[in-house]
């Protein structure tokens, strides 16, 4: 039995049917959910959806208040409204996952240019404010009562331990190959082939480039 014409997998996993922005958003959300690292903000996708949501909202309002709107039109409006609510849920979910990671790794992000490039402007502002708030809190509750020499929040110690929390790029993730992928190198030196459609449990570090390119997605 061939499932390809009846399931979302075609849209989600078929790299050439990316036109559907909802499928892309779902993929972006779930990728972000499972990735230990922060991924690049999907600015174009979110802007596009926000714009469309805004336009749909205007159309729906206009039609709903128009007395001449037919019953058939009302039905379609209801479906459009439901679709819009679903889309907003997806966008909020996407933003929430990112926010969680941004707060967790705020200090690290703010000292690494590469990481900052993954954030939207609003997210960057949030990271700065959050970090400042946290630092103020530490000072007010603990640090100001201690000697000045202990006040640093960004020290790295001789044994390599750092006060700054970094994402664990060796965190294992379940990876789905959307297309036939180039071989990847495993930490033990072996190469493996990710066949199209296959699912593997691998360290994030092994596939991060494939993920950034959209050749795999996290499941």
């Amino acid at each position: 039995m061939d499932f390809s014409d009846s399931t979302l997998d075609d849209h989600l996993f078929g790299i050439d049917t990316d036109e559907n922005p909802i499928a892309r958003l779902i993929r972006a959300w779930i990728d972000e959910r499972h990735a230990p690292d922060l991924l690049v903000f999907q600015a174009a996708l979110i802007d596009d959806l926000m714009q469309k949501l805004h336009e749909q909202g205007l159309v729906v309002s206009a039609l709903q208040s128009d007395e001449s709107t037919t019953e058939e039109e009302h039905l379609r409006i209801t479906l459009v409204k439901t679709d819009m609510e679903r889309a907003k849920f997806l966008i909020r979910s996407y933003m929430r996952v990112r926010l969680h990671k941004i707060e967790k790794y705020a200090a690290f992000i703010l000292q690494t240019t590469e990481e900052q490039q993954k954030l939207s402007n609003a997210e960057l502002v949030h990271a700065q404010r959050y970090q400042q708030m946290l630092a103020n809190h530490f000072h007010a509750t603990v640090l100001d009562a201690l000697p000045e020499s202990t006040h640093a929040l960004d020290q790295t110690f001789p044994d390599g331990t750092s006060m700054i929390t970094r994402p664990d790029r060796d965190h294992p993730v379940f990876v789905h190959a959307r297309v036939p992928c180039p071989d990847v190198l495993l930490p033990d030196g072996d190469k493996i082939t990710l066949e199209q459609g296959s699912i593997h449990l691998l360290r994030y570090r092994t596939i991060d480039t494939l993920l950034a390119r959209g050749q795999v997605n996290l499941v």
């Binding site: 044994d159 331990t161 750092s162 006060m163």
Partner: protein, 193 residues
């Protein structure tokens, strides 16, 4: 095993005591193991907390030895039947045997370092299957811990012998089975529109 600076678990884990032999005399600190001596003489053995060890051993002031939870006797017991060893007895109810072991592997030189790593990995893999089976049998079921379910007496003992890391894994597995069960049993029927 969490290397995050703010991890409370790893801070607490560093309190595990390890046997150390002093290579030098130390004046005035004879009291730290509760003894009556004024000074510590070279050759004295003492249990010191893990967080002291790296500094002291790097300078060759002490010689670090393998702690009891990773002794040859324990390793033999694990090799015989990993599942019957009660890790919680070795490190205390809230202790983490794997975490402690990893800290020792980091601290010691070869070949002891790799020996401990291998012991830890093998034990973990062998115990993992039973751990998961039990988590799914008890996940979602309202059974009490003391009940003799399918896994009966042996199961209860095994669960008591888990170290903290294994218990965390057990809870994770149980939670996920529970969530799916609840979802399955709740209708998602659209209410009237």
């Amino acid at each position: 095993m969490d290397t995050d600076y703010y991890s409370i678990d790893s801070i607490l884990a560093e309190n595990h005591k390890i046997p150390c032999k002093f290579e030098i005399d130390v004046q005035g600190l004879g009291y730290i193991d509760g003894g009556n001596e004024k000074d510590i003489k070279a050759g004295t053995k003492m249990l010191l907390p893990y967080w002291l060890a790296p500094t002291l051993s790097l300078q060759d002031w002490v010689d670090v030895e393998i702690p009891q939870p990773f002794s040859a006797k324990v390793r033999r017991a694990l090799a015989a039947d990993a599942r019957s060893v009660k890790l919680s007895n070795l490190v205390g109810g809230t202790g983490t045997w794997y975490g402690f072991g990893k800290m020792m592997a980091d601290l010691l030189r070869e070949p002891q370092s790799s020996e401990i790593s291998t012991t830890l990995i093998n034990a973990f893999k062998l115990r993992l299957i039973d751990l998961m089976d039990q988590a799914s049998h008890f996940g979602g079921a309202a059974s009490s811990i003391g009940s003799s379910g399918e896994t009966g007496e042996g199961g209860g003992e095994f669960r008591e012998g888990l170290d903290a890391t294994e218990r965390e894994l057990f809870t994770l597995a149980q939670g996920s089975v529970q969530r799916t069960k609840e979802w399955y049993e709740t209708s998602s029927k659209l209410r009237s529109v």
